[in-house]
Symmetry: C2
Subunit: 191 residues, 2 copies
DNA sequence: TGAAGAATAGACCGGTCGGTCTGCACGGAG
DNA sequence: CTCCGTGCAGACCGACCGGTCTATTCTTCA
C-alpha cells in the first residue's frame, strides 16, 4: 500500500497536469479524483511544487522507456529509429486525446515564473536530445546524414520543432502537424 | 483619458501574461502595477477571460504590423521577406527578455481547459500562417520554391516549428534555437 | 504483545482569488 | 442649473487555494 497511494497520485497527476497545467491543477481536485485524503498527499510530497517535479520525473521514465524501445531497435537504420520514437510519441498523444507534451506544457507555463521548473524542463529536453543525437551520429557515420552536420544541433532542432508541432496538434486535436513536421525534417535532414 | 486607462491595462497585461501566463496572473497584481483601482478594471472588462482575450487581440495587432512591415517589403525576394518577419520577432523576443511568444504560452496553458482560448489561439496561428502562405506562394511562382510544394502546409509548418523554437529559446534565455530553426528551414525548403 | 514509525484521515487555517457593489467626479446636453 | 452616462475608486464578498495540525489506523519487528 505504501507505494500504491503515492503511485496513484503521480499517475493521476500526470494526466491532470497535462490537461490543466500547473496553476489550474488543484490539490483538492486531485485528491477527490484519487479518493485520497489531504494528509496522505502531504505525507508523500512536501509541496505542490515537489509533487509536480516528481510527476515530471515519472513522465521522463516513460520517455526513456520509449527511447530504449525505439533507438535500441538495431534492426532498423538509425534514422528510422529516431523517427520511430517520435511516431511512438505521436501515438501516445493520440491515446491521451492530443494534449501534447507535458514538458512543453509545463515549460511554457512556468518557465517565466519559476527558475526551478525552467531548469528542470530544459534538463529533460537536453536528456532527450542527447540520446537522439547519439543515434544521429551513428547515422552520420553510416553516411545516412551529410558528414558536415552536427548531430547534437540536429537533435535539438528536432526536439524543438517537435514541441511546436505538439502544441499545434493540441490546438487542433489532430496529429497532422506532427506528421507534417516529421516528413519535412527527415526528408530535409537526410538529403 | 478614457482610452488611456484601458490601454495601460492592456499593455501591462501583455507583459504580465507573457511572463506569468494566465492562471498565475492576478488581477490584484495587475492593478498594483498599473496603479488602477479594481472598479476601473471591471468597468472596461467584463471578466479576466475577456481581458486576456483582448490582450491577445492587441498582441495580434502588433503581429500584423510586423507582417505588413516584412512581407510588404517588395524590394526583397519573397522568401527573404518571410525570414525577415521571423527575425523581427526574434529581436522582439530579445527585447522582452526571451519570454517567447504569447500565443504559444497561452495556447499551451489553456487549450486543455478552455475551448474559447483554444479556438482563439488556433485562429491567430491560422491568420499568421495564411499571410506567410501568400508570400510563399509568390516565391513558388517565381521558382524560388519547388513547384510541388504546398505553400499553406509549408507556412503552417514554419509557424509550428517557430513556436517550438520559441519555447526552447525561452527555456534557455537565448536566441540560438530560433536561428538554428530558421537556418534549417530555409535551406531545406528552398533547395 | 507492544512499541514505533509509516500512512491515512480530515478539520482547520490564513491568504488570496475573481468578482460585485456602492458611491463619487466629471463633462457634455437639455 | 440639472440630468445622465462614463469612468474612477475602493471596500467588501464568498469561494477556494495550498498548507498545517492533530488524531487515528495499519504495519512491522523486537
Amino acid at each position: 500500500m505504501t507505494r500504491s497511494t503515492k503511485e496513484r497520485l503521480l499517475e493521476a497527476g500526470l494526466g491532470m497536469l497535462l490537461q490543466h497545467g500547473y496553476n489550474d491543477l488543484g490539490i483538492q481536485a486531485l485528491l477527490e479524483k484519487t479518493q485520497t485524503p489531504k494528509g496522505s498527499f502531504y505525507h508523500h510530497f512536501k509541496s505542490k511544487e515537489d509533487f509536480a517535479l516528481q510527476v515530471i520525473d515519472r513522465y521522463m521514465v516513460d520517455v526513456h522507456k520509449g527511447l530504449d524501445l525505439s533507438l535500441g531497435n538495431s534492426s532498423l537504420p538509425p534514422l528510422d529509429r529516431v523517427r520511430r520514437f517520435f511516431e511512438l510519441s505521436r501515438d501516445k498523444y493520440r491515446d491521451e486525446g492530443y494534449l501534447g507534451c507535458l514538458l512543453g506544457g509545463v515549460g511554457q507555463e512556468l518557465s517565466g515564473v519559476s527558475e526551478v521548473f525552467r531548469r528542470k524542463i530544459e534538463t529533460c529536453f537536453n536528456a532527450i536530445a542527447e540520446r537522439v543525437a547519439e543515434c544521429l551520429e551513428e547515422a552520420r557515420q553510416r553516411g545516412d546524414l551529410p558528414p558536415d552536420r552536427d548531430p547534437r544541433k540536429l537533435a535539438n532542432l528536432l526536439v524543438d520543432c517537435w514541441e511546436g508541432a505538439a502544441l499545434r496538434s493540441r490546438l487542433r486535436g489532430a496529429p497532422d502537424p506532427l506528421d507534417a513536421m516529421l516528413d519535412f525534417y527527415f526528408s530535409a535532414a537526410a538529403r
